[in-house]
């Protein structure tokens, strides 16, 4: 049976590499996935210039002009108030109106989340949306044995209640089931100890509720050390802690690379050692390549928003589009709603 046609709205502006990489990503998608259509939202002239030079399938791409955009450094609420025709807001509106099925943006995260909050509806039972992120771990997860776990929230909701944390757990589990093809993902709460009574009152309360939740495989609390170990498939926390954790993981990764570079430059013996390890390191890099995973989903709305990394190149953008399409075709929103 032919796959259902799905349209992904891409906020073309605002990424670190400008419109070119997003247009190239959408072009790639138009060549690789016949059932996917890209709706490119942004400066029509810039999009056309990029598109004209890029191999693409014009039958699967359309353009919506948006005269403004939110830059990375801008304060989201003020920027969206000043620019009602900003590309991310226009794209979100098109998704809300049914012109597209999901939104992908590599631009300002806050503006994207705010645009989604203003135009999409929260699912019944969800009080606050959550930004989820995949991160590399020591163990494989799901059917594909991929080395990534999911952590949420990483910044959409700074202060979460116990009910919010429970909703995040349900949303994260649904996402892992559908996108990571993990039929029964393990879910854990991030705390300062594995005992159920450890942590602030909201975490303790959430632990009690989750322990009795029939639709989840709740494995209790995990500590920070368990995050890179991959003890759980889905780690639940509030946006403040989640964001700190995520940035720390990124920082560690960058520091390791810097140390390796330092070692490479310092001594011949270290250089030789690194050269011998290079194929293994390359494999490791491929395994943990965030570009393969496209971006971070914002969960909890009736429509899906995938926040692609600001540094995303074409391949990462195309993958973000594929992840969004998979979530749409698998009816992620309905799965979350049923879980709640």
């Amino acid at each position: 049976m032919a796959e259902r046609a799905i349209t992904i709205a891409f906020d073309v502006m605002g990424g670190d590499h400008g419109p070119l990489e997003v247009v190239r990503g959408a072009a790639l998608l138009s060549l690789e996935s016949p059932h996917l259509h890209a709706l490119l939202v942004g400066d029509a002239e810039a999009i056309d210039q990029a598109l004209a030079e890029t191999r693409h399938n014009g039958e699967r791409i359309s353009v919506q002009h948006a005269p403004a955009y939110v830059a990375m450094h801008e304060k989201p609420s003020a920027a969206l108030a000043d620019k009602p025709e900003a590309s991310v807001l226009v794209a979100a509106r098109l998704v809300a109106e049914g012109e597209a099925d999901a939104l992908v943006s590599a631009g300002n995260t806050g503006a994207g989340v705010l645009a989604a909050a203003r135009t999409f509806r929260l699912l019944p039972g969800v009080r606050r949306a959550a930004l989820a992120s995949v991160y590399p771990t020591r163990t494989g997860h799901g059917e594909k044995k991929d080395p990534f776990s999911l952590i949420l929230d990483v910044g959409a909701t700074v202060e979460a209640t116990a009910q919010d944390l429970v909703a995040f757990a349900v949303m994260g589990a649904a996402y892992a089931r559908i996108i990571s093809r993990n039929p029964n993902p393990s879910v854990a709460l991030l705390s300062n100890g594995t005992e159920a009574m450890k942590g602030p009152p909201r975490v303790v309360e959430a632990n009690q509720i989750l322990a009795g939740h029939p639709g989840l495989r709740f494995v209790g609390n995990v500590e920070g050390v368990d995050i890179p170990k991959g003890t759980a498939d889905v780690v639940v926390t509030d946006g403040f802690v989640g964001n700190v954790c995520l940035k720390m993981l990124e920082g560690i990764g960058e520091t390791v690379v810097e140390l390796a570079n330092y070692a490479y430059a310092s001594r011949l013996s270290w250089r030789l050692g690194l050269a011998m390890l290079s194929s293994g390191l390359k494999q490791l890099k491929d395994l943990t390549d965030w570009e393969q995973y496209g971006g971070a989903p914002v969960l909890g709305f009736d429509r899906l928003f995938i926040k692609a990394h600001g540094r995303s190149r074409a391949r990462a953008i195309a993958n973000a589009g594929k992840v969004a399409a998979k979530a749409v075709s698998s009816e992620l929103a309905r799965a979350i709603q049923e879980g709640l």
Binding site: E45, L51, T54, H56, G58, E59, I61, S62, V63
Partner: protein
Amino acid sequence: MSLPDRIDPHPARHIYRWDLDKTYLQTDFDSLRQLLKTALQKASQKTAVPGAATLIRELGASGDSRLCIISGSPVQMRNVLEEKLKLDGVEWDELVLKDNVRNLLRGRFRALRGQVGYKLPVLLESRVHAPVDAEEVLFGDDAEADAFIYSLYADLIAGRVEEPVLTKVIAAAEVYPDDAARILEAWKAVARADPVRRIFIMLDRLTPPAYFSRYGPRVVPVFNYFQAALVLLGDGLLTPAQVVRVAREMVQTAGYNLITLSNSFQDLLRRGLPLQAVAAPLIQALEGALQGPDKVLAALRPVPDIVNAFTRRVAALGTTPPLPPAKEVDYLQLLDDARPRGARARDKAGKGARKSG
């Protein structure tokens, strides 16, 4: 003054010239296996590019046109190709195929893949016998040198190309002397006119459309024949109802839908083709077709959605860009396009190797 031997009661007012492989027929011959498969296919196994057969039939419906097909397929395939065209209800006036066995036997190996030395003399010789005022629309693809050859042909008969330029092109394309002589002879015999209105290039390889801007706005790269039909509607060569029939075939045979059709329409607008005015009559024709018992078109969507899809694609752009101005094509700068694709690839690989060396 002597009268011509025969006066054609219905001289052609329009001539449509088509390539076959990858333009009319969906053909894969990029590998030896695909080539063999193509050669052994029966007529019923061959598939036309969606919309192509209907477009040809609709263009011929006025009764004052000629269909001239020139293909690089070998003459041994004539029966199969003729049968396929008949199966599709396509009536042709000329069908020229390539005699590659003869080329092989005579040791003319360059001619096996060469395009300029084969197509240019055939086009010019055909034009010699055409009415001076007959306008032409040409259809090719991006797999070989069609944009180059068709543009050169158009500019040759319009008198925009000088003999030294043509000579250099012939040399660069490694055309054999007898074919070169045919080109020059036919060119000199052709009555000077400027009849080529459009050159459509089917983007079989999805070459970026901007690649063809070097040939000016006369060359229109298209992703499908709905786009070609829209441009021909704008040019007054088709009616809205005929365009709807082309779309209908594409919906029926290749699963085109409202999104792909309206995206195709917007794609042309974004390239500066002034087609805003055709949207309304086209929608009207679609509405008219939907009044009847046409189940294929009815499967598209309800009429308001059709209206919405097309008008929204126009409105979405704000202002549309202007069509790039026509400019003289510098064939000497584009000589690389005149050479067989294989030779181009080999040259590029050689240059790359020299650079890295």
